[in-house]
């Protein structure tokens, strides 16, 4: 599925539920647009988390809420405050990385 971001006018490939399929197509403007759709206003703290997630995703490390909580960047509680109702799902979506798969 191809999605066009209105403000930046870039076309990117996204999954059925809106996650970027190629994390290299991501940029900060896209992050802001996805965050707007979800209803989150991004701050520097959000970007610290986003950069951490992108770094780990690039290294092919599996991400969990527990892992982000131990990253030293945010506690789990703060992660929930930054990305209410979807700490890992929303942060991953905004970070342009695949949907977290914790379900086995």
């Amino acid at each position: 599925m191809i999605k066009t971001f209105c403000k930046t006018q870039v076309e990117v490939n996204v999954s059925e539920d809106g996650y970027l399929e190629d994390m290299s197509q991501w940029n900060k403007e896209i992050a802001h647009e996805i965050a707007d759709e979800i209803g989150i206003e991004l701050t520097d703290k959000h970007f610290e988390v986003i950069n951490y997630l992108r770094e780990k995703a690039a290294a092919k490390e599996a991400l969990t809420i527990r892992k982000v909580g131990k990253s030293g960047i945010v506690t789990i509680k703060e992660l929930y405050q930054l990305f209410p109702k979807g700490p890992l799902k929303f942060s991953s979506k905004i970070a342009g990385i695949p949907k977290p798969t914790s379900c086995i």
């Binding site: 809420i65 789990i76 929930y80």
Partner: protein, 415 residues
Amino acid sequence: MKRLLILGAGTSGTMMANHLVSKLPKNDWKITIVDQYKTHYYQPGFLFLPFDIYTTKQVKKNGKKFIPKKVEYIQKKIELIQPEANKVELEGGEILNYDILIVATGTKIAPAETEGMDGPMWHKNIFDFYTYEGAKALRNKLREWKGGKLVVHITEMPIKCPVAPLEFAFLADSYFKNKGMRDKVDITYVTPLGGAFTKPKATETLHYLLEEKNIKEVTDFSIERVDYENNKIIDYADTEVEYDLLVTVPTNMGDELIEKSGMGDDLNFIPTNKATLQTNDYENIFAIGDATNLPASKAGSVAHFEAEILTENILRYINGEPLKEEFDGHANCFIETGNGKALLIDFNYTHEPVEGSFPFPHVGPLSLLKESRTNHMGKMAFRWIYWNMLIKGIHIPFVSATMSEKGKHFETIEK
């Protein structure tokens, strides 16, 4: 004489000892297995113990009985693995050298990871059923419980046997119906996942079961703490769920031995190649069953399929041949749905549970992803299979280690 050392004599370790004893050249190899506990538990039975369906005697046996005589069995606590030195230290300072190591130390519940969980109300009105002690204490509680809010809860993934908590909720529905007190019990299922089943397609297909049994659902609930004074669980988003009786599956973690030995991830599971079962960091160390970080279910059926492939890979490793990249994450689970019925699901890393028949294409007799009495009989018969075939490493006829796609309706529940 070379030594193959197995750590842990649970389902996986016992199966490996039985598989390898007849396959390793006797003159060159000695097999040793170490476990600190005397008792081997039939862990799937812990689901039935709280409801008085199984007795305590039916779920435990002396572990030594299942270890082949030609295998050296040491009942001691394992203190440390020194992977660089090919040594394992046991309690009392005894050192075992090894040429090949198989780690099968499983997973444990870690209620202390959640604030308030294993406090003063642990095993009073907060229970687990993933340990023998927990399941037995819960049985005693249920026998006299007068009703109220029953909350069945999963703390975080991954957990051993991911469908067990749901089965618990289904069986609880039956149990209270049979006692004539279902109207006095309010059942709520609370999960950190987006749906009741761990696989999205099964969730869609089987959602009716929850509605039919009047089980309420709270999803995406990531617990922060148990407020044991006010009987409620609270998540990071400040959602609260009240309980009178909390049956929880605490965080599951690998053995602390793995952490002490510096070999685990943040949950003490060992990074392992998901197709060969060789650990990522050491070529002469293999891991099997719940101890690994594989993205497969932590379940006996998975361990059983892994054992067949690991046996072959150990022989290949000894002969200096390339390892077979064959394990596909195959899992095969019965799901008790209550009232003498069960479902069967069969899936792997890439295929979600689908409808169809098992193990014979189009014949069955077991049906996949559909409730039936035959499936329930299968689950009940499995206890016999476990003690008499599975852990003894006897191949279960017609059930292959990798998943078969025959007789399964892969298209029927595609969106």
